[in-house]
């Protein structure tokens, strides 16, 4: 069992009486890529600043490599930060920016040259050493900021929304590069972002935060497929929340009354008869068939025997590889369904006004206790 590189234990912090971080406990493994995900003001950046040494927590303990960092100033911590605005020194060229930490550490000029060149090569800026920061594009500045941080071989690299200022394509590319860089260097990365796609594509683990608290910690897949509460479910991607009541138990599963239909659902938690629940389904979890076709084809009707919810199509929306279907169920609930294009058909399968039967792939539902 290796020792975690960072441990937060019951950390709280408030500014002028406003709570920014409340009782956060988290342990970060050596060499992992962990992302703090949440909306702005959820406390994720405050945690990063506490790790960096720019803020001191009001209560709780922060350990770096098993040692408390209380009172340790930023310059004495073995962590480095990539700032959101890059914070490159405007009066120094790229080389001097990257060499800054090494010069402070008193390395020899020969060693500095070698290490800086290596770092610039790693971020593919080998020919840019003489340029001033303002002569670089946003993406290049971003790379300099990364090189400037990793050149000091920190135990942990803190990244504060590093890609938020870049355009979509560049962001995608930098996500890949960051992930590769992290694998190459083996340094622990702690990234802060409000973009769930970014969090999912790069991280080993994601920490979903809200209002200064941790809502859920898990792999991207766990967060997406097994959200532990409605907040997490709604924050990461589209979700449909159906309401229901548990009516009985059948072995591993429960019978439940969901939006007026009696269905069989699988749940990881224990429920009692009469408990009100939410049934969470991603748009891509649904199976939808037009009623008219079901009536005409017994085969199809058999396949859709479990599609017990009835509704009407409101409209469709083209998404490229997929299309969205808005459906209003008979009890008034509106749901969003994502369908793939039928390869044999030129036209969309669903049309506004179609009566449809709605079911879902069994076991893909997530059952949560009713909230609020």
């Amino acid at each position: 069992m290796t020792q975690p590189v960072v441990t937060l234990d019951g950390v709280s912090k408030s500014f002028d009486g406003e709570t920014a971080v409340e009782n956060v406990s988290l342990s970060i493994k050596d060499g992992e890529f962990i992302t703090l995900l949440g909306p702005s003001g959820c406390g994720k950046t405050t945690i990063l600043r506490i790790l960096g040494g720019f803020e001191e927590c009001d209560s709780g303990a922060v350990e770096l490599d098993g040692r408390s960092v209380r009172g340790v100033p930023p310059e004495s911590r073995t962590v480095n930060t990539v700032f959101q605005s890059y914070a490159l020194f405007p009066h120094m060229n790229v080389f001097d920016n990257v060499a800054f930490g090494l010069r402070i550490a008193g390395k020899t000029e020969a060693e500095i040259h070698r290490t800086v060149d290596e770092a610039l090569k790693l971020v593919r800026l080998e020919s840019m050493g003489r340029r001033m920061p303002k002569e670089l594009s946003g993406g290049q500045q971003q790379r300099v900021a990364i090189a400037r941080a990793i050149v000091n071989k920190p135990r942990v690299l803190l990244l504060d929304e590093p890609l938020s200022a870049l355009d979509y394509r560049l962001r995608k590319q930098m996500q890949k590069e960051l992930k590769e860089l992290q694998r190459t260097l083996g340094i622990t990365f702690v990234l802060v972002t409000h973009d769930q796609e970014e969090a999912f594509s790069m991280s080993d683990r994601v920490v979903v935060m809200n209002d200064g608290r941790i809502e859920q910690v898990g792999s991207p897949r766990e967060i997406y497929e097994e959200p532990t509460n409605l907040y997490v479910a709604r924050f990461v991607g589209e979700i449909n929340v159906l309401d229901g009541t548990v009516t009985g138990r059948q072995g591993e599963s429960y019978t439940a009354e969901v939006e007026g239909a009696s269905v069989l659902v699988k749940a990881r938690r224990e429920f009692a008869d009469g408990d009100r629940v939410h049934v969470l389904l991603r748009p891509e979890d649904f199976r939808v068939e037009v009623m008219k076709d079901l009536e005409e084809s017994p085969d199809l009707a058999h396949k859709f025997a479990k599609a017990l919810l009835k509704g009407t199509v409101d409209g469709t929306c083209y998404r490229g590889a997929t299309y969205d279907v808005d459906i209003t169920l008979d009890d008034g609930k509106r749901i969003l369904v994502t369908e793939f294009f039928d390869e044999d058909s030129e036209t969309l399968y669903f049309h506004a006004g179609d009566r449809v039967a709605v079911g879902w792939f069994e076991g893909w539902e997530v059952i949560l206790p009713h909230e609020g």
């Binding site: 960096g52 040494g53 720019f54 100033p73 930023p74 310059e75 962590v79 480095n80 930060t81 700032f83 605005s85 914070a87 490159l88 020194f89 405007p90 009066h91 060229n93 800054f100 930490g101 402070i104 550490a105 001033m132 400037r148 941080a149 000091n152």
Partner: protein, 283 residues
């Protein structure tokens, strides 16, 4: 695109003002400095370099050096006092910034000459400072402050400090806090950060503050007069004496031109050093 009448009026108004009260007098001064002295009519329209020759007398050179040293010391004192003050104001809570800046500017509401006479009341043998020192038992007898170089420095620094603080404030206020955090993050102590990040990035403010203090410090003749007695001679006093006492207007003009040239050279040197360092500095 055609400029509006209003814009043209404003621009030509400002331009006219600058030409009439700035360029024309300066050119007149320059012209006069190359003319000869005439005991009866002040100036004789005869071209001559004698005024400039007179400037290179050893006695005058010593005065010039002393004057420059004095102005430089006053500038340095202003910088040492003004920088921390400007830093605190620039980094203070927005609520207090306005008040603090107002406090810096309030002295402008009173005439400098009157404020200098007020300083006499503060510094003289039975003035406020000595009374306080005696009361506190720090000294047994009144300290002699008036008519010493110390008094002149106090007067210069007191009068010129706002001219140092305001450009420094403007420069420090623009400094991005994230850069200081980045420096600390990369292992630099507070002191190293100040030396390697804060000072270079606020250099434009430092330079303009020093210029705004140094030049008036050279020319502010009434402060050495009132607080330093006749003993401290500055370039400003010398120029004033040439115009009003010795009635040697060409020599006074030549001294003025020399002063302007010195300042111009210093500015040019500064820009050159900055350009060599590959930075762009706006003042």
């Amino acid at each position: 695109m055609k400029d509006s009448l209003f814009k043209r009026l404003v621009v030509s108004g400002v331009l006219g003002w600058l030409v009439l009260f700035g360029a024309v007098p300066t050119l007149m001064l320059l012209a006069v400095s190359f003319l000869s002295r005439d005991p009866d009519n002040l100036i004789k329209p005869v071209l001559s370099l004698s005024s400039y020759a007179e400037l290179f007398q050893p006695a005058l050179g010593a005065m010039l050096a002393e004057s420059m040293a004095m102005a430089a010391t006053a500038t340095l004192l202003c910088l040492l006092i003004g920088y921390p003050f400007a830093y605190v104001v620039a980094r203070a809570d927005r609520r207090y910034t306005r008040t603090l800046l107002l406090l810096v500017m309030i002295p402008f509401w009173t005439n400098t000459l009157i404020r200098t006479y007020a300083l006499v009341a503060v510094l003289k043998a039975d003035g406020v400072v000595n009374k306080l020192l005696l009361l506190l038992g720090v000294v047994d007898a009144p300290v002699k402050l008036m008519y010493t170089p110390t008094a002149v420095f106090i007067g210069l620094v007191y009068t010129l400090l706002p001219f140092m603080i305001l450009p420094l404030y403007a420069a420090i206020e623009k400094l991005d806090c994230k850069l200081l955090e980045a420096s600390r993050d990369l292992g630099a102590s507070r002191f190293s950060t100040f030396r390697k990040i804060t000072i270079p990035l606020t250099m434009p403010g430092i330079v303009s503050g020093c210029m705004l203090v140094f030049l008036p410090a050279l020319g502010m003749f009434y402060i050495p007069d009132i607080l330093g007695g006749a003993r401290t001679m500055l370039l400003g006093n010398y120029i004033r004496d040439q115009f009003l006492a010795a009635r040697n207007i060409p020599l006074g003009a030549a001294a003025s031109v020399a002063m302007t040239v010195i300042m111009g050279l210093m500015l040019a040197l500064y820009y050159k050093s900055v350009r060599r360092a590959g930075r762009k500095v706006r003042i």
